[in-house]
């Protein structure tokens, strides 16, 4: 694993290119301390949209995922769920933009579809692991539906609720990110502000975003969920025109049909020959370099995230810091893990220029902060020996060996997530698969885009299977509802 990363590092394109980054750093720091809340057009609408899209996307994904979870024993359902969650929200959004245009449906489906795949998997696992003792107490004549509703569901319900709340937080992040491809959420203005160097405006938008995430537990009461859904349905922009069924049909029957088939009259050997040429060129010129860059970036970022985790987790652990130190640690980790990695990468890109380095650091920081947070919490419940050493000795000889397996489990669990994020950073110009997908959409070549998205999904599935095999072999267990 480490060896692969070292090799990746050699081939990676990591240099600092900007001539004068300090000037930019100074402007950023000035911007951060002087947030300007009045600069952005339609900021209130963007805030409302961000929350509404998240609520509807998560609610709809939750609903679909619940029913998919019940059918999760069917192999086809399991495979289908794995496939739809292997494709990042932003790619779903790019696809739906072609079909439904800039409408609410695009935003909701872009979140709901991948989330339903995630919900299905997690809910199925929760049901599987649920306590079965209550099953033994009921009469044998009880119907299957009654057993499910009155015996198995109540037990799992609380886990469903906890997990849904966590997903809502992810949903808010994703919803904001959808703005990067043009939906009217916070990301729309955030990307513009950063790219135009308007750091006071960017810092104001980020502050609002952090406040929404930080207060989530204050406003997300279960009782209010129906109200939230109704209000969200009322406030989201349903679009400028009706959803046109001809657009949907056209997308599937024309747009995504590979070009050689689309232009040929009768399909004959020549068509197949030119299709073969088309797909070979696409694979050699785009897919292959994209796959290589994606893997290189993923591996370096994964090891980076691991290294940063080992530095980050003591910051919030009561075994190492007092109340004051831990509070600072918490603030640092919350900011690092709530800032979308796309934004982190964009900031580093402005500072260091367009190599792979900004993406590596962004992914490592973001994921390091997430695993660091989980590991820090994990150490809270550890009981130390009365004669335990202190400081660096405690860290290296006592805590670290004890949590190392858990750490590896989390890290492997994040592997596939990091790869999915890697692809997305392509939109920023880092030549992963996402770069070629974005280019295909920019050239209105949807046939290429869809094929590249499918390749990306297969790559993710491969990593997913590999990570599960490794975790099983090392007998590492993770609580899914933590990640």
């Amino acid at each position: 694993m480490l060896a692969v990363s070292v090799i990746s590092w050699i081939y990676a394109d990591i240099e600092i290119i900007t001539q004068d980054p300090w000037n930019e750093v100074m402007r950023m720091v000035t911007g951060i301390v002087t947030p300007d809340f009045l600069e952005t057009d339609n900021l209130i609408t963007a805030i409302v949209n961000t929350i509404a899209f998240a609520i509807l996307g998560v609610a709809f994904g939750n609903f679909l995922g619940f029913f998919l979870a019940l059918a999760f024993h069917i192999r086809l359902v399991r495979a289908g769920c794995a496939f739809i969650r292997a494709i990042h929200e932003l790619f779903w959004a790019l696809v739906f933009l072609q079909v439904f245009g800039l409408s609410a449906l695009t935003g909701i489906l872009a979140l709901a579809i991948p989330y339903s795949g995630i919900f299905a998997k997690v809910y199925a696992e929760i049901l599987e692991e649920a306590d079965t003792t209550s099953l033994k107490t009921i009469s044998q004549s009880t119907g299957r539906i009654s057993i499910f509703v009155f015996v198995r569901l109540p037990d799992a319900w609380i886990h469903f609720k906890t997990y849904s709340l966590y997903r809502l937080e992810c949903g808010l992040r994703s919803s904001a990110i959808l703005g990067f491809v043009g939906l009217p959420t916070l990301g729309f203005h955030l990307e513009t502000a950063f790219a135009e160097g308007k750091y006071s405006e960017a810092s104001a938008i980020l502050i609002i975003f952090f406040l929404i995430i930080a207060t989530i537990r204050k406003w997300s009461h279960a009782k209010l969920v129906p109200l939230y859904i109704v209000v969200s349905l009322m406030v989201i922009p349903w679009g400028l025109s009706d959803i046109s069924i001809t657009n949907v049909i056209r997308f599937f029957t024309e747009d995504i049909v590979p070009h050689p088939f689309r232009v040929s009259g009768p399909i004959d050997m020549i068509t197949f020959a030119s299709f073969f040429a088309w797909i070979t060129t696409l694979f050699m010129d785009q897919a292959l370099p994209g796959i290589i860059a994606t893997i290189i970036l993923t591996q370096i970022a994964l090891v980076g995230a691991g290294a940063l985790t080992l530095i980050f987790f003591p910051l919030i652990s009561p075994k190492f810091f007092g109340f004051f130190g831990r509070t600072l640690g918490h603030i640092f980790l919350v900011i690092t893990r709530s800032t979308p990695e796309y934004i982190l990468a964009l900031i580093f890109l402005l500072l260091w220029g367009p190599s792979m380095l900004p993406a590596v650091i962004a992914l490592a920081l973001h994921n390091g902060a997430i695993i660091g947070h989980l590991m820090g919490r994990y150490t809270e419940s550890m009981v130390l020996r009365p004669d335990a050493p202190k400081g660096i000795n405690l860290y290296a000889y006592d805590i670290l060996p004890k949590i190392y397996r858990q750490f590896l489990a989390f890290l492997f669990y994040r592997w596939e997530v990091i790869m999915r994020e890697t692809a997305i950073l392509g939109i920023l110009g880092i030549t992963t698969l996402g770069f070629y997908i974005d280019s295909a959409f920019a050239d209105l070549r949807y046939d290429r885009a869809i094929l590249l998205i499918i390749i990306t999904a297969i790559l993710n599935l491969g990593i997913d299977v590999m990570s599960r095999t490794i975790r099983a072999r090392l007998r590492l267990r993770t609580r899914v509802d933590l990640l």
């Binding site: 900007t18 930019e24 657009n247 110009g429 920019a442």
Partner: protein, 286 residues
Amino acid sequence: MLRFLVGFFLIISVIHTEQVFANTFVFTAIPDEDESKLRSRFDKVATYLTNQLAIEVKYIPVKSYGAAVTAFRNNQVQLAWFGGLSGVRARALVSGSTAIAQGVEDPNFQTYFIAHSSTGLKKSSNFPIIIAGKTFTFGSKGSTSGRLMPEFYIRKHFSKSPNKVFSRVGFSGNHSRTISLVQSGAFQIGATNFQVWKKDLAAGKIDTSKVSVIWETPSYPDYNWTIRGDVDKNFGSGLIERVKTALLNLKDPDLLASFPRKGFIPASNADFRPIVTVGKQIGLIE
């Protein structure tokens, strides 16, 4: 707390319930330069058109050139301010759509190749072969002046794709960003729209001790207003002519500064044939 939240969200929903734009005439513009305040800038144009046409006209902002074309194709917008390439692509996808107006400057549009001062390059009238091996940024992937034409001249002079000519190739996203990336030294060379260069220069946003123009391309046709053919049917006959007249009569310098153009003149689909030829030649149009 619960009651407060209920009240608060009900109020938000009343204020923010999105009005339905049934039969509203909508236009968009490709996001080719400074993308902040897009809405404030183009809402003024929407107001002007509303007054001139006596129907409700709205502007929606889009994040990319591709999104502008898609919105036009899906009939979410009926009128768009496109670049040469995006206009050609949009008209190929929507039969019956026509280019009705262009900027005074557009029949003779140019791309400027710009360089950071550390390269030591000076302005020349010949194509600067010396840029080979340096880092280079285009504008948006779908831009005429920031992608199509510079790529055409690069391929013409090196007989190689830009990836093989330069040590690094980037896509900045828009023209003002290309200028600032070259100015900061993130890229050594860039290709930008000459109108945006002149506008940013006049606004004092360019530090000429750090970035300067090293080559100007020959002229080519670029931006245009393109309208869907079915608007006469959907919004009343004669609308296409009225939109055209309204655009040609647009004289307010404040509104024209959004484009930035001195004024608008008539255009036709045939004006953009050179773009189709070049687009096919470098494989950006099939």
